[in-house]
């Protein structure tokens, strides 16, 4: 059984271990994963060095990219500060302080 460390150094070490474990888990979740299922629903995990792995992952990435493009096209573009001014639209106050300053200026 793992002996529990006591004291501030032990607590810091526990925190660091937890953080490292979280990072490892996040990294593992981001890694590509490929499974094939036969007609009975039996799943087989294809290892990264398995046959066709690279080809299948690339195809899936292209499919996801295609959908992302479609989603980006459907979404209204974010306007950056300065676009409105360049278009000749009146400048809008961005905060109460700005509004107050504009009133003062007027």
């Amino acid at each position: 059984m793992k002996e529990k460390r006591k004291g501030p150094i032990g607590r810091a070490a526990d925190l660091a271990e937890g953080f490292a474990a979280t990072m490892r888990r996040m990294q593992r979740e981001r890694e590509p994963r490929l499974l094939v299922y036969d007609e009975t629903g039996y799943a087989r995990l294809v290892q990264p060095n398995g046959r066709g792995y690279q080809n299948l992952v690339e195809t899936a990435e292209r499919m996801v990219g295609l959908v992302e493009d479609a989603e980006a096209e459907g979404r209204p573009l974010r306007r950056v500060r300065g676009d409105a001014e360049a278009a000749g639209e009146p400048r809008r106050a961005r905060s109460r302080r700005d509004a107050f300053a504009e009133e003062e200026d007027a």
Partner: protein, 156 residues
Amino acid sequence: MAPVLTPERTAERLCELSADVRAAVLLDAAGAPAGVHGVAKANSRELAELARELFEAVDRAHRDLPGGPPEQVEVQVDRGAVFASRTPRWTLAAVARRTALSSLLLMDLRAVLGELEHGRPIRRSVAASEEGAPGPASEEAAASESPVPELGQDAE
């Protein structure tokens, strides 16, 4: 009576059924697109082509598996996931969110393909609190109702 599911509406039906599906494509036995949903018309042919390539790559690499050629594929990549299922007549592929639950999505794919091939409508539950939702009028009626209605009907 529920309308019969057509190949043209199948991809859309899957997107309606599963909130995690972002786009879907249905291919016929020849690999030609029969219905696409979730991408622009200009990209639908490319999505269909990629879906066809997916199963071609699976067949090339995993044809000799003990259980026969794979019927379903799941590929999780960084920004999403791709799920595909096929029958002798149809192939249905879906691009989903990375967080999608594999078992649920694969079941949805099979259910939609089943509805398309056999015309079995998918049973969907409606929240009891929804207005006009079908269901028992009282608690007594609810208590007497079988939790598995199909079993009750078989016994009658």
